[in-house]
Every structure is written in C-alpha cells, then in structure tokens.
Point group: C2
Chain length 125, copies 2
C-alpha cells in the first residue's frame, strides 16, 4: 500500500476492529509514536501494538471524521465515543517509502471555556 | 490558487504577518470557523478576520510544523509561541472549488498527565 490516505484509513479500521495483527502490519518495525500533551513516546512495532491493545481498555468506538493524505504524510481527525463521552482525536502520520507508518503524533484536545475577552467576537454552539 | 496545501501555507503566513487583508482574501465570504473545544463559531469573512485580528492580542509567533493537503481538504499542525509558552494548534480545512477556505475546525490541545495504568507501556520525554 503506498497511498498515505488509504494507509491511515486501514489503520483506523484495524483499531476499531481491535484487529491488532492488521494494525501492526501497517506500521514500520521501528515506528515511533509521540503524544506531545503527555510526553509519552513508544518505539517499535511490538511495543506500539501492545500500547494500543492494552493501554486503552473499555468499549470505545471510533469514527473517522476526516483523513487527508499527501505524499508520505497524512493527518486524521477521529471521534472517539466511550461510555457516553465523545471527544476528538487528531493524528499526524509520516510514512516510509514502503508505505508503512513510521511516525505518529497524537493529540487529544479537551473541552474548555473561551476567555470572556473574545465573547463578542464569536457565537457559541 | 487551487492547491489546498498552498492555500493553508498562505493562510498561516498571513496570520503570522498580521496581514489581515491577505488573510481575509484566502477565506470564502461565507467561511465558517468552529472550535469544538469551546464551541465557538464564527460565520463570514469580515467576522472571521475580526475574530483573528482582535481576539488574540499579544506577541504570539507561529511556526508551521506540518501541512497536508489533498483535493479540497487540508490539515495543519502549527506551534504557537507566546511569552515563553509553546503549544500546538491543529486545524482541518475545507476549500471551495475556487480555492478559498470555506470551513476551518480548530483544536488546541493542552498538556496533561497520562494515567498510571499505562505507565508501563510508554516512556516519557
């Protein structure tokens, strides 16, 4: 597979299916995962599969909102649903020339209140 | 301009330069901005330029980390630096057939501590 969009679509389909062998087959042996918010880093396919398979228990369900791929880069926006909670997950991906995912940078924004100073500049929904 | 990557690169260059006329020229007259975390929404070019020009005072500087464009969609990851703070901003963009940005969805993740339950599955950096 050498299309970044399709690689990321397959990655999220495997995650949603908890199909960890398929998930692992999409990432490089030396894949590096980073979560800048928590400063967590995972190196290597086996450790990364385990991080996903064991690190996030529960009956979460994910829905892809958007995948954008260009060359050897991609970005995704997913919605995660877990026990009535819904939240967005944003990832940026790099791929190697063999089409495997070599780097994943993962972000999980949380809800917050905007500053009052810009309340006159936006509506709320 | 009809390349989504280049439109977003020009958007961030205009924002960094505080060149609000250039910034406004890149978005559609009926552009819709949404920030899912705060549930803020801004509709229309004039309101959106004003939101950016007046809503975020201070001497912030932005650096593009990654832009991915595909067809009429794009995603960006920027680093914002402001008074010694550094934080990531993630945006997804839709473009019209005229190359103008019609929709912007904006996320600002913040730092957090990971749960102890997955401490054995990742290193910290």
């Amino acid at each position: 597979m050498d299309d970044a969009h399709d690689a990321v679509a397959a990655y999220w389909a495997a995650a949603q299916a908890r199909d960890w062998p398929a998930f692992g087959s999409l990432v490089a042996a030396d894949v590096v995962y980073e979560a800048p918010q928590t400063r967590e880093r995972v190196r290597g396919r086996a450790a990364y599969v385990r991080f996903n398979a064991e690190g996030f228990p529960g009956d979460w369900q994910l829905t892809v909102q958007r995948i954008v791929g260009q060359g050897r880069s991609a970005a995704s926006w997913i919605q995660m649903s877990d026990a009535g909670d819904h939240y967005a997950g944003l990832c940026f991906f790099d791929l190697g020339t063999d089409g495997l995912i070599t780097r994943i940078t993962d972000f999980w924004p949380v809800s917050s209140e905007p500053p009052a100073s810009r309340a006159h500049l936006a509506e709320r929904y």
